[in-house]
């Protein structure tokens, strides 16, 4: 094989990607690995459940065309690869352009630690007056090397680490990893364990959505609502204390099920506490819906075009009218429950905030339904056969679609790659912050539910 990357190879690669794009395929994941002297890039694409992949063996220190021309959602994944492997992509360095364009405009640097940012991220805004003309966002402040540390680790140890990847989505990542392990090792998970996993997963979504709402209220300056949301979070903590000491629900999952049985009575008590939230959430939702000043403040900002929202995931896509049902992808028994996916027809801060309320109410309804039809039986699965294999799992997380690629060999994780919803949504941040006022930035970012800790692994 040639040791240099040629123009012809670039054209072939882009031609293949354009071909899939024209057939409405979506980019799920870009995976990179060293193969001899090459870096093997694997573009994993999906359409209606069919998965295709495009491989490219790139010689070290080569520059290849950026995938963002075809799939703009791949920008963040590409950035991660540039940081970890000796491969460059032909994307213009926007930071350099910024310094050239400073003549008439003002360069405002913001972050990485800011009281209104949930997590560290460094922004450079090129502004004219108060209006943002260009945005450059730099991440990498959250990087803790989880994927590298997981490689070569045993399953329980990797699970412990993955549950700590993010405070709001750690449970979903751990669950997706276990589902991959169970699929490779042919472990059968008992029905009751699956239902309990579903309940716990929905509880983690609820917690994530409540924290997102608390950030929105803080950015809006609605301190009484912020306090009311935190009261709901303490109600949630009270409910989880019936099962575990940890509100993040760490340490419950185990390969093949969950590590302790939860009695029906405990679940009923938990449900009673959780259902108390319905009234509180509905009241705040109704009040926001009836208050003209809140509607005016929020509906004019953070607008996302349908063409951009199509490539996004989670509330950003659903608020633009795309009925994305990620729960359908899950192997948990969501199909036996009755639910309707909340959606809106224009994506802006207000509709996304309303969807946060709707999603929280949906989680409460699903928990209620699952507890009602909880089957009896064991909660630990049958031991499977230790084998070798690789699998790609698509699961819901609180903010959108989660993709986990796992490769195992005799109980040891040989490769793992996690792509959460924020990796997709973050790629578009420069689009919807453009032409926004500088003081609206925290509100717009909060309405997008970016989970940097799950993204910067």
């Amino acid at each position: 094989m040639s040791r240099t990357w040629s123009e012809k190879q670039s054209r072939t690669l882009m031609g293949k990607l354009y071909g899939y794009k024209s057939m409405d395929y979506k980019l799920l994941l870009i995976k990179a690995a060293y193969v001899e002297d090459f870096v093997r890039l694997k573009y994993i694409l999906e359409k209606d459940g069919f998965i295709e992949s495009v491989d490219a063996d790139i010689p070290e220190n080569s520059t290849i065309p950026s995938v963002t021309e075809v799939f703009p959602e791949g920008a963040q994944m590409q950035k991660e690869i540039t940081g970890l492997y000796p491969v460059k992509f032909t994307s213009p360095d926007t930071r350099v352009n910024f310094e050239q364009e400073q003549n008439d405009n003002l360069l405002v640097e913001w972050g990485p630690f800011h009281p209104l940012l949930q997590e560290p991220v460094f922004f450079s805004f090129l502004t004219k007056g108060d209006v943002i003309k260009k945005v450059y966002a730099e991440t990498g402040y959250n990087y803790s090397g989880v994927e590298a540390l997981c490689t070569g680790g045993k399953i329980p140890h990797v699970l412990d680490m993955l549950e700590r990847i993010s405070s709001v989505n750690g449970f979903s990542v751990g669950l997706a990893f276990l589902q991959a392990v169970e699929k490779i090792h042919d472990i059968i998970v008992p029905d009751k364990a699956n239902y309990l996993r579903l309940i716990l997963n929905e509880m983690s979504f609820l917690r994530a959505n409540l924290y997102s709402l608390s950030h929105i209220t803080k950015c809006l300056g609605l301190l009484s609502d912020n306090s009311a949301i935190f009261k709901l979070i303490s109600l949630f903590n009270e409910a989880t204390s019936l099962i575990t000491d940890d509100p993040q629900l760490k340490g419950i999952l185990t390969p093949g099920g969950i590590n302790r049985d939860i009695e029906n009575e405990t679940l009923l008590q938990l449900n009673v506490i959780l259902q108390e939230m319905v009234h509180g959430l509905s009241a705040i939702r109704q009040r926001w819906n009836d208050t003209q000043s809140i509607i005016e403040r929020m509906s004019g900002i953070g607008k996302i075009d349908k063409s951009i929202a199509r490539a996004m995931t989670g509330r950003a896509a659903r608020s633009a009218g795309f009925a994305e049902d990620i729960r359908k992808l899950s192997s948990l028994p969501y199909h036996v429950l009755s639910y309707k996916i909340p959606m809106a027809y224009e994506s802006n801060c207000f509709t996304r905030a309303m969807l946060m309320f709707d999603d929280s109410l949906l989680s409460l309804s699903l928990i209620d339904q699952a507890i009602e039809i909880l089957p009896k039986g064991d909660v630990k699965g049958f031991n499977g056969i230790m084998s070798k294999g690789e699998v790609l799992i698509r699961e819901p997380e609180a903010f959108g679609e989660l993709v986990v690629y796992v490769s195992l060999d005799e109980g040891i994780v040989t490769d793992i790659k996690i792509r959460n919803s924020s990796s997709i949504n973050f790629s578009f941040i420069s689009h919807f912050l453009k032409e926004a006022d500088l003081n609206e930035v925290p509100l717009v970012i909060s309405s997008l539910d970016l989970d940097f800790s799950g993204m910067e692994k």
Binding site: L116, Y141, R164, Y211, Q248
Partner: protein, 149 residues
């Protein structure tokens, strides 16, 4: 200067740094402030020059290390540093040889440590108050004024 310490104890400005990691420690601190409505003396500030106390949460990597040191230098003395959570205190599960992560102690003089994952809400408030009670201008040079929860 006792009167100054008494006044400072009644109004503590905290600068919170979420260095990296899962951010549950930072959320627990916000929870602590919102849950206990009676707490009026502790406020979060966005400006290091107004801060009395630096709360560091999460794993510290090369990028955040630089910024945290920058923030610490901007804070007026006497100042307290609190390492919140297992990641900030020891690196937790993420710290291995050559993993490029630091503990708070390696980069700053720490007054209090809260080692649990994730720390309780009352523990954080207690640590802030204790650290501020004990901190004096030259303490960090002599290893005094340190608390371990």
């Amino acid at each position: 200067m006792n009167w100054l310490n008494r006044i400072r104890m009644r109004s503590i400005s905290v600068f919170i740094v979420q260095a990296g990691g899962c951010r549950d420690c930072a959320l627990q601190f916000l929870m602590a402030l919102s849950e206990n409505n009676e707490i009026k003396g502790i406020t979060v500030t966005g400006n290091p020059k107004h801060a009395d106390c630096l709360l560091v949460c999460g794993c510290i990597n090369e990028k955040s290390k630089e910024k945290i040191t920058e923030i610490y230098e901007k804070m007026p003395a006497p100042k307290a540093v609190i390492a919140v959570g297992a990641c900030a205190c020891s690196g937790s599960l993420f710290r291995r040889e050559n993993s490029g992560l630091y503990t708070v102690e390696e980069i700053l003089p720490v007054n209090s440590w809260i080692r649990s994952c994730a720390p309780g809400t009352t523990e954080i408030l207690e640590a802030i108050v204790r650290a501020m009670e004990n901190v004096k201008e030259n303490h960090y040079r002599n290893d005094e004024g340190r608390n371990d929860l």
